[in-house]
């Protein structure tokens, strides 16, 4: 079969009925080609045949490394067909990183001086693809001499492309680069086809971006060297480029370059980009000569914006490029508004692609021109209803980016509208919307709070079944922190009416977990207040109790979250209920879990029952309503982030710490949180009992309650003898001491010895899945001077071998850094 032609080989592969059959054919052919190529006496024609088959294998994704040398043999042939195939194969099978390239140097050198222009062009193209820095240095003079001597636009074009790549590969070539050569080419009308112009633009781009890199490197070695000379010379091209672009833009019809009535959009865009680079680089190096052209460039951009046909994709491509130029150079305000208007025009159109690029560009330029972007919210909201999910997600991001005190009411209405129409496929988007809506409500305080609460309840009604537990917590925090208790009460009463009234029941789905969680929590928290108000006949001690009992009966065995909420609500409500029958029902809910398999639930149930039995006098203050919950708003998370795309395989770095050990529960940094800093062992602490409703559901983050902490605090800490060093870096050393181990629990102390001054020290620890970790506070604090020692207590319960993964975050000399390491103990639990 290997002797047969390429065509029949392809037919064989395609004819295979099963994957296994195809594999067999491919493997067999691959082996045959390998043997054939090893045979030195194989005639060239056969070699060509084999390389062609090899290229087909390359497309199929097979291994092809054994053919690499053979490409070079083909290039060495005098036959044009051999050379052509050899170069094609070299471009595909080899890449810049291979040692084999040195073998090519001579061949390329010969072919660059070949009498046949097509051989020269093949060599130039290949050199562009395979330019290692050695090849770049060795062959640059040959390429340059083609530029100097050739009058053939085809060769000049190819040589320029090659020069652009070589300069990119090795920016020190800029020292021997002749800007004059480029300028004279640019002025030579006879040689300047569009292809040549595109290549000149490419060389300029390569030189300009290579220049910044090169400049920095030279500066480091010889601080006085002035390398801006080349740049000043290159500036001579700017007027010519401006003229070219202007002419292209007004040109009526040139059949060869016309696309749907637009003259060569490719060249127009490349020229725009080159000019933009000119301005950027000159600005960076404070070369003021460029300023004389800025007015003209501004005018030209305006001209492009008005002249270009915005109805077709190629015209839109130019407009889009012009807009990006305006914003990346941050031109004057009228230009920026012009740019925004172009993008708004894109949004109002029918084409999905222009809508997409407009939305993602607008998102980027909101900080530069917020008011102008906001003016187009009508179009942005319309995109929220677009059938294309990519457009919807970009529009959502943008909607949150322009959301402020003024636009809030209007945009929120649109967002709620979006939630109403969202389908199940939009789960990601819904979660995102609710999360950021709650966050926006927290940040923008000047908007009417009652309206905000009402909106949140509407949102909950719509999508409560989709949102995450964390968002439910945030929502509860928001309700809890409401400044007017009276309004809140009325609202909760409304919610309860909806829930308790059988005739309205159908409005809310039984599976609306979010709604249920919030209602249950509100019954517990505000039940007393609402009962006191006697707002509605439907809301009575009996009906509230019945609601909790029903929910408890209906609760899913596997979903403990809701049971946690129920227990707390039952306990809290019991303080406000006088009817003995109701009280007993509530007690039944509490005791029902006293033998639960879930340790957390069990202990909660038992502890709550103890509180329940206390006289009302004791019970009331414990079960008093929650204080305002102070939430640290992370500056980094205030800005809406991107919606995670479903396909994205990469996860953020920070999560792999826990991933690796299979432990998904967050272990908090040990900073004390104002309202939950209570001992975890004390039963009679009201805030702590409820803390887990707000926070995570694990115990990992609870600050430790060592009584003697304060005493130890005063003396300077030392690393005790017998500690094991588990980590050392330039910033810190880390030791660990195992205080006790056995009976399923271990106590250890982590010591951190600073080598320089460290600020914001945070430790994140993780243990295997079978264990649970409680982290203490860092003593004495999270700022350490050089050689100071800090200590942190760790408590592990569970089973299995003791293993610990630690991630340190800190700021040293103002730079944030983090270190991560593992430690395995010999002991097991």
């Amino acid at each position: 079969m290997a002797g047969s032609s390429l065509r029949s080989f392809i037919k064989d592969v395609r004819g295979a009925k099963t994957v296994a059959e195809e594999r067999a054919i491919v493997t067999k052919a691959s082996a045959k080609i390998r043997t054939k190529l090893r045979d030195d006496h194989l005639p060239l024609e056969k070699r060509r045949n084999n390389i062609q088959k090899l290229l087909y294998l390359y497309i199929l994704g097979e291994k092809t490394h054994f053919g690499q040398v053979e490409c070079i043999n083909l290039i060495a042939s005098d036959d044009f067909a051999d050379k052509r195939l050899g170069y094609l194969a070299a471009m595909l099978l080899l890449d810049e990183s291979q040692d084999l390239l040195t073998l090519l140097t001579n061949l390329l050198n010969n072919d660059l001086n070949h009498p046949n222009r097509f051989v020269v062009s093949l060599a130039l193209t290949t050199l562009g693809f395979l330019s290692s820095s050695e090849l770049a240095r060795d062959l640059y003079p040959d390429v340059e001499s083609i530029l100097n001597t050739s009058k053939d636009p085809f060769l000049v074009k190819k040589a320029l492309q090659c020069v652009a790549k070589l300069v990119m590969t090795d920016s020190s070539l800029l020292e021997i680069f002749q800007p004059q050569l480029l300028l004279s080419l640019l002025n030579n009308q006879s040689i300047c086809t569009h292809g040549v112009l595109l290549s000149i633009a490419k060389v300029l781009q390569a030189a300009l971006s290579g220049f910044s890199m090169h400049h920095k490197r030279v500066k480091e070695n010889e601080p006085t060297a002035d390398t801006t000379g080349i740049l000043r010379q290159l500036l001579g091209a700017v007027p010519e480029l401006l003229d070219l672009l202007q002419n292209l833009n007004v040109k009526n019809f040139e059949p060869e370059y016309d696309i749907q009535g637009t003259c060569d959009p490719f060249l127009q865009c490349e020229l725009l980009y080159t000019l933009r680079l000119f301005f950027q680089v000159c600005f960076e190096f404070k070369i003021t000569e460029i300023d004389q052209y800025s007015n003209k460039f501004n005018d030209l951009l305006t001209q492009i914006a008005t002249n270009t046909d915005s109805g077709k994709n190629c015209g839109q491509a130019i407009l889009y490029e012009a807009t990006r130029t305006i914003f990346s150079l941050n031109l004057n305000q009228p230009s920026r508004v012009l740019g925004i208007n172009i993008l708004a025009q894109f949004l109002s159109g029918k084409d999905n692609n222009t809508k997409y690029v407009a939305l993602s560009t607008l998102l980027k330029v909101v900080p530069q021109e917020p008011v102008a972007v906001q003016r187009h919210r009508k179009f942005i909201s319309r995109c929220l209803r677009d059938p294309d999910v990519s457009i919807r997600s970009r529009a959502l991001e943008l909607a949150f980016a322009i959301l402020n005190d003024v636009t809030m009411v209007e945009l929120t209405e649109q967002l709620v509208e979006f939630l109403k129409n969202a389908s199940d496929d939009d789960k990601n988007l819904i979660v995102y919307t609710v999360e950021y809506l709650v966050r926006a409500f927290e940040i923008h305080t000047s908007v009417d709070e009652k309206w905000k609460l009402e909106t949140l309840i509407t949102v909950l009604k719509l999508v409560g079944n989709v949102i995450s537990a964390e968002t439910v917590s945030n929502l509860l925090v928001f309700i809890n922190n409401a400044s007017c208790p009276q309004e809140r009460c009325e609202l909760v009463a409304e919610m309860l009416k909806l829930t308790l009234d059988d005739s309205k029941r159908s409005e809310i789905s039984e599976h609306n977990v979010g709604w249920n969680l919030v209602t249950i929590w509100c019954v517990g928290e505000y039940g007393g207040e609402i009962l006191g108000n006697k707002a509605d006949a439907k809301i009575s001690e009996r009906s509230l109790t019945k609601y909790l009992v029903d929910q408890h009966a209906a609760s899913d065995r596997n979903d403990n979250k809701i049971v946690h909420y129920l227990l707390t609500a039952a306990l809290k409500l019991s303080a406000h209920v006088n009817d003995p029958g109701c009280n007993e029902s509530l007690r039944q809910i509490l005791v029902s879990r006293s033998r639960d398999a879930d340790l957390m639930l069990q202990s909660k149930s038992v502890q709550y029952e103890i509180i329940f039995r206390q006289p009302l006098k004791v019970k009331k203050p414990i079960l008093d309503s929650m204080p305002k919950f102070e939430k640290k708003i992370d500056a980094a998370t205030q800005k809406p982030s991107k919606i995670a795309s479903q396909s994205s395989a990469s996860q953020p770095e920070s999560s792999d710490l826990l991933d690796l050990l299979g432990e998904k529960q967050p272990s908090h940094s040990p900073q004390p949180q104002p309202s939950v800093a209570q001992s975890s062992t004390s039963v009679l602490s009201p805030t702590d009992l409820l803390a887990d409703i707000f926070g995570s559901n694990g115990t990992n983050g609870k600050p430790s309650s060592d009584k003697d902490l304060s005493e130890r605090n005063s003396s300077t800490l030392e690393v005790p003898a017998g500690s094991t060093k588990i980590h050392e870096s330039a910033a810190a050393e880390c030791y660990i001491t195992l205080k006790s181990c056995g009976d399923g629990a271990a106590q250890m102390e982590l010591y951190l010895k600073a080598k320089t001054n460290l600020q914001n020290v945070q430790t994140f620890c993780a243990v295997p899945k079978t264990q649970k970790l409680t982290l203490g506070q860092i003593q004495p604090g999270n700022t350490l001077v050089s050689h100071q020692v800090a200590r942190q207590n760790l408590k592990v319960v569970g089973s299995g071998r003791l293993k610990l993964r630690v991630k340190l975050n800190f700021a040293a000399d103002g730079n944030d850094s983090s270190e991560q390491f593992d430690h395995k103990f010999d002991q097991a639990l």
């Binding site: 087909y56 497309i59 097509f118 074009k157 060869e256 490719f266 491509a317 889009y320």
Partner: protein, 156 residues
């Protein structure tokens, strides 16, 4: 401006018909891209926009009959709309060369498809020639030289 990272031609069944890399990728990375991008693009519905986000870059694609043309590009540098024009230009040129090009033409004459591509895009993935006529003229001239060579060989 355009600076394509890679171009993949894939059939509706996900078979790769042509592939060309313009930035340095390791073998592993190449395999990952091929394995992930093609299904991502194939899963898009017909009315959706032709731009998808993937890992650290964007993917612009367009479907012609049974064949998908897929380009990886750098956001903020590349012009997505212009990339679509580049793809279209490539298709048009092949259409003129083969005369009503179809998937089979590309499968059996992949080296010609590469030759045409190498005239349209330069080594860093940006457009090299905006005239279709020029591209065709040079590719065809090279074809003629090749067949002359063959003729000479047969005669000698």
């Amino acid at each position: 401006m355009t600076q394509i990272k890679y171009l993949i031609l894939a059939s509706r069944q996900g078979k790769i018909r042509l592939v060309k890399w313009y930035t340095l990728y390791s073998l592993k990375e190449k395999q990952k891209v091929l394995k992930e991008v093609t299904p991502l693009v194939l899963s898009r519905k017909a009315k959706m926009c032709n731009i998808v986000e993937y890992c650290d870059h964007r993917v612009v694609y367009r479907r012609y009959a049974s064949l998908y043309f897929i380009c990886g590009i750098t956001p903020d540098v590349d012009n997505e709309l212009l990339t679509l024009e580049v793809i279209h230009r490539y298709v048009e040129t092949m259409d003129s060369y083969f005369g009503n090009v179809c998937e089979l033409d590309i499968i059996f004459n992949f080296s010609k498809a590469y030759d045409i591509l190498n005239e349209i895009l330069m080594c860093d993935g940006s457009i090299a020639e905006s005239s279709k006529k020029e591209v065709l003229q040079y590719v065809m001239t090279m074809d003629t030289i090749e067949s002359h060579d063959n003729l000479d060989r047969v005669l000698s």
